[in-house]
């Protein structure tokens, strides 16, 4: 073992870690992962079928597309139908608003462009100065600083035809809401590697302390996830509740100050609605007053309201809180599949339902 990336994927090490996991002798416990990339890694590994008795893994609200309510997609559709070029990530064009997806609107002539990042959307605005370009920004603290930086750059260069429809969310308020939810039984968190690159591992300390939950920051390779779980279960066994970072090659205890700096400059924290969790105070990032000319909501949608109807029969709201497993949803695998998704959790490859379906986890039809 000389190269950490290789070690993190080494099958022999994986089997030894699984053995180590099976020596768990603590009480039954539910562990929640709150990152879509973890959701995918766990599904791909088939890890749920390899766990010791009494240990359950739940997928939480870690997929940005999944937690974004239908109303945001209604807003994005309205922009695209009003002649604004709506740029966003690939996953977002397949999520239904009250009626349509952005992709369906595009097939009928609306200007919807898939981009890799906010920088690409800004580049689009530079190339087509006669067009208004609005970027639908989704994501947690990993993505939000990159969007903030693009907004700042747009203001500095006087790029008035670039704006952001922000649906960015703060991770910690959602984790706290889950811990307060009597229906949700979480004994520990597997914390996201990449959001924590920005937040710093110590960001979870107040949660660990106040709610007595182990919070272990882990990476995404098979052995990163396994080491994370070993550490979680060790803490549960010992009755501890601490923050541990088992992803030191990408995460520090302290935050990324440059990223948080631009985030705090460009955005302000406001209440925001989450699919499944409802309205959570201080959980959304909205553009600050000083950047109002780059706020698509303020510029183009002021005074308009949108229905935000969720799809009929969709149980994403319960799936996102870990109180319903994807295959327990009556639509799963029948009316709702990755090819023809009904709900957001199936649309995104990172959604719990999408990941479960693709990798056909033990017990899935």
């Amino acid at each position: 073992m000389n190269n950490p990336a290789e070690a993190a994927r080494d099958p022999e090490l994986a089997s030894r870690l699984l053995e180590r996991l099976h020596r768990y002798a603590g009480p039954p416990v539910g562990v929640m992962e709150v990152c879509g990339t973890h959701t995918v890694a766990i599904a791909r590994l088939g890890l749920r079928s390899l766990l010791p008795d009494g240990v359950r893994l739940h997928s939480g609200p870690g997929c940005p597309v999944c937690v974004t309510p239908a109303r945001v997609f209604d807003e994005a559709l309205a922009l695209a139908q009003d002649g604004v070029t709506l740029a966003t990530y690939g996953d977002a064009v397949r999520v239904p608003g009250s009626a349509d997806t952005l992709g369906e609107a595009r097939s009928r002539g609306a200007a919807v462009r898939v981009v890799y990042s906010a920088l690409d959307a800004l580049e689009l605005a530079r190339r087509e100065p006669e067009r208004e370009v609005a970027f639908l920004g989704l994501g947690f603290e990993t993505t939000a600083p990159t969007v903030a930086w693009a907004v700042k750059a747009a203001r500095e260069e006087g790029r008035s035809n670039f704006s952001v429809l922000s649906a960015h969310k703060a991770l910690l308020p959602a984790m706290e809401a889950l811990l307060r939810d009597p229906e949700v039984a979480i004994g520990a968190f597997l914390c996201p590697g990449h959001a924590t690159m920005v937040l710093g591992a110590q960001a979870y300390a107040p949660l660990a302390e106040e709610y007595r939950v182990p919070c272990v920051v882990a990476g995404f390779e098979p052995n990163d996830v396994l080491v994370g779980l070993v550490r979680v279960l060790d803490q549960v066994e010992r009755g501890e509740a601490r923050v541990e970072n088992v992803y030191p090659r990408a995460v520090d205890d302290a935050p990324n100050r440059a990223a948080l700096g631009v985030l705090d400059d460009v955005f302000v924290r406001v209440g925001s609605a989450w699919r499944g969790l409802g309205e959570l105070p201080g959980s959304g990032y909205e553009l600050a007053e000083a950047y109002g000319q780059h706020d698509a909501r303020r510029r183009f949608l002021a005074g308009r309201s949108f229905p935000g109807r969720e799809p009929e029969g969709c149980r994403c709201a319960q799936v996102l809180r870990g109180v319903l497993e994807p295959r327990e949803c009556p639509l799963f695998g029948g009316r709702c599949t990755p090819e023809h998704p009904v709900g957001a959790c199936m649309v995104s490859s990172e959604g719990a339902c999408g990941a479960h379906h693709r990798y056909r986890e033990a017990g899935a039809p």
Partner: protein
């Protein structure tokens, strides 16, 4: 969505970006959100930005961590 990929900085450009090599694929990446990155450094990249500079010491720490988890007795 929050996927981030490590790559090696090849060259620094005057506009605050860098050419980064991801196992043979080269991309221009903004260094606006990391401090002190230099050619030869590995950075973790998300949505066109380097968000973390990998310290070689941290890589060694990872290996030590894997070993220690296997050596420890639980509970």
């Amino acid at each position: 969505m929050c996927v981030a990929v490590p790559g090696e900085i090849l060259t620094l450009e005057p506009d605050g970006t860098a050419v980064v090599d991801f196992g043979g694929t080269r991309r221009t990446v903004s260094l606006a959100l990391v401090e002190g990155a230099a050619p030869g450094d590995y950075v973790v990249v998300h949505a066109g930005f380097a968000l973390h500079r990998v310290d070689p010491e941290e890589a060694r720490e990872t290996l030590a961590l894997f070993r220690s988890v296997l050596d420890e007795q639980p509970g």
